[in-house]
């Protein structure tokens, strides 16, 4: 087994709110190997975006802070690294693609300028060479007539093209790790599929690792090797994609799988998970999922549940995981 490229251990992120410091990420651990795609899945507010921003050390501060744990990238702990060293890593070794392509590109500068900028930041090259690289990566993400599009502004691109341009920008310096935070959520379904295809082919070609943050399990099945499921600031289950879909071990994962719309089952109601995720300042005692869990017992409401290893590469945070037979995806 190859050594992990990114290894997050016991990550704790807190935000200052009206209720004081609240933990929105509470003891998260996972790792990604070179060339691997890990899906980080969870509902809105589960802490998945904050976790991904932590890797970049870009959690807005104030009001946020990393209160504990370590994020080791290529053997180096990014937590507490001096800003100048972080800047050298951001955009070069680790790059990021965000959800909203409309707002995540600067409206006042051309696409070409925004791509060339990151190249010039990390590579000793001339303005012209940086522009050539911009043409190259725009070609790579299949933007037609890339050279002519260098001078275009973000508002002159469609949503799908903007997201391609954002991916091109992230790839410009050949990152070892790409963090994609819901990169397809804001796109039309057909465009979503194109962007996912693109990401997959780029990964096959360049072999970078991807941390894919999403709430959409369908996308995960499509793209990821392994999955970490987050709920209420914690990892509740990690498994290979196959295992997770075949035989989920956590009731929350089962709920997510059941809530996925499936073809050929018209008329049948989707099984939504009842209730809503807890607010970070009023986390339930015991297992955080117990108020919504159909299998909860009294004991689940009393003691905290640890993330336990269950077999090869699998972890689950449920005291009943051994006895329950949960339904996978069909």
């Amino acid at each position: 087994m190859a050594e992990a490229m990114l290894e997050i251990a016991d990550l704790v992120v807190e935000f200052l709110t009206d209720y004081g410091w609240v933990r929105v990420v509470d003891g998260v651990s996972f790792s990604i190997r070179p060339g691997e795609t890990l899906g980080l899945v969870g509902e809105s507010g589960s802490g998945k975006t904050v976790t991904s921003l932590s890797v970049m050390q870009l959690v807005p501060s104030p009001p946020g802070r990393i209160a504990g744990g370590s994020i080791r990238f290529a053997g180096r702990d990014l937590v507490g690294l001096p800003e100048a060293e972080l800047e050298a890593i951001r955009g070069d070794d680790i790059a990021m693609v965000f959800q909203e392509s409309m707002t995540s590109l600067n409206p006042a500068f051309t696409i070409g300028d925004q791509i060339a900028e990151v190249v010039r930041r990390h590579r000793a090259c001339s303005r012209r060479e940086a522009r050539e690289r911009a043409v190259e990566v725009l070609d790579l993400v299949q933007i037609p007539d890339a050279r002519a599009r260098l001078g275009a502004f973000p508002h002159e691109f469609s949503g799908g093209m903007r997201q391609r341009a954002a991916i091109a920008m992230a790839l410009a310096c050949d990152p070892k790790l790409l963090i994609a935070d819901e990169p397809t959520t804001a796109l039309d379904v057909t465009v979503q599929a194109q962007v996912l295809d693109l990401l997959r082919s780029l990964q096959e070609r360049f072999g970078m690792a991807i941390l894919f943050v999403t709430h959409n399990l369908g996308v995960v099945a499509d793209l990821c090797d392994r999955v970490a499921v987050m709920y209420a600031g914690r990892i509740v289950e990690t498994a290979s994609v196959f295992d997770l879909f075949e035989s989920p071990r956590h009731p929350y994962t089962e709920g997510l799988l059941q809530a996925m719309p499936q073809l050929g089952e018209r008329g049948q109601r989707l099984a939504a998970i009842p209730g809503t995720p807890p607010m970070p300042w009023q986390m339930p005692q015991g297992c955080r999922f117990h108020p919504r869990c159909p299998y909860a017992e009294t004991a689940c409401t009393e003691r905290d549940v640890r993330l336990e290893a269950v077999g090869q590469e699998r972890h689950v945070r449920c005291r009943r995981s051994g006895e329950l037979a949960l339904a996978g995806a069909e």
Binding site: F98, L105, N106, A108, V118, R121
Partner: protein, 314 residues
């Protein structure tokens, strides 16, 4: 872009027509008969009538308007009743004084507002922000005539570092020009600096929370670079609007500041002309002011396109 400018210039035609009506009607609105003023106290009614006929004041209003507008279009703004010089000549003599005063005031206000607004807007709630905000409120509260007098007192009378009054053309002696323009320009520009600082601070706070700032940071760009490139250009958009409005306001402000600092500019000319009832000169000053204001607004509109590509004409 050229098309855009041409369109803008065409759009000015109706505006200038309305302005010409207003300026011309000054003759009808201002109490007192210019012929009477010109003839002097001892003139007989016959003499006054002769002057009226000579000046064309007996003609129907429409004829007078057509004659005046025709003159303006040919660059003939009439002759000063007071000094007998052509109005345009006097205006062109005075214009550089006012333009350099207003321009220097704008430069000073930007030199204050950009650093102050950026520092405050990127660290809202910090000590620096509170100092800047307090400074901006004070800058707005200080009346410019009082500020001008205090500056003269401190820098000219007590310390003798800078001249209290007068003006030297920049073409004649750039250093002397700067020494003369510094105090009046600061006096004129301070309130604009305060307004621009507040505007930029607010815009900067908003812009720094945008997703594209996070993207720029995720590219490994240094904080300072992100602020000055990705932040400032977007935050400048609302500031340019305010700057355009302020430029017009500054031109008005020159009237008082030129009086205080004894500068031979348009503002001083306007005041003197009103006192001497020099009607053609007053009209000339107003026409000139309108032209400058219109030109400044055109510049602002053009600069929008640079700051904000979305409004750039296709």
């Amino acid at each position: 872009m050229l098309n855009f400018i041409l369109q803008r210039l065409l759009a000015l035609v109706p505006l200038l027509f309305i302005v010409s009506l207003l300026v011309f009607s000054l003759v009808l609105i201002i109490p007192g008969d210019p012929a009477f003023m010109l003839a002097g106290e001892d003139a007989t009614p016959e003499e006054i009538a002769a002057i009226r006929a000579d000046m064309g004041l007996d003609d129907p209003v429409l004829v007078q308007y057509a004659r005046w507008t025709g003159g303006v279009l040919r660059g003939d703004l009439g002759t000063s009743l007071f000094s007998d010089q052509p109005v345009l000549e006097v205006l062109l003599e005075r214009l550089p004084v006012t333009i350099s005063l207003a321009a220097a005031a704008i430069v000073i206000s930007l030199l204050i507002a950009i650093p102050a607004g950026v520092i405050a807007g990127t660290r809202p709630g910090s000590l620096a922000d509170r100092i800047v905000t307090l400074g901006a409120s004070s800058g707005l509260a200080i009346p410019n005539f009082w500020l001008g007098l205090m500056l003269i007192l401190v820098f000219a009378i007590w310390n003798g570092w800078l001249p209290a009054t007068g003006y030297v053309p920049i073409t004649e002696h750039p250093v002397a020009w700067l020494r003369h323009i510094l105090l009046p320009a600061f006096t004129l520009g301070l309130s604009a600096a305060a307004i621009l600082t507040r505007q930029l601070r607010g815009a900067m706070i908003e812009v720094m929370n945008q997703d594209y700032i996070r993207t720029a940071r995720a590219k490994g760009l240094a904080w300072r670079f992100v602020v000055l490139k990705h932040g400032l250009k977007n935050a400048a958009i609302p500031m340019v609007t305010i700057l355009g409005l302020q430029a017009n306001y500054l031109l008005g402000g020159t009237v008082i500041v030129e009086q205080i600092f004894g500068m031979p500019g348009l503002g001083q000319l306007a005041v003197a002309s009103v006192f001497t009832r020099d009607l053609p000169m007053i009209q000339g000053v107003v026409v000139m002011a309108v032209f400058v204001a219109v030109f400044v607004n055109l510049l602002v509109d053009i600069s929008y396109g640079w700051f904000n590509p979305k409004v750039r004409p296709q």
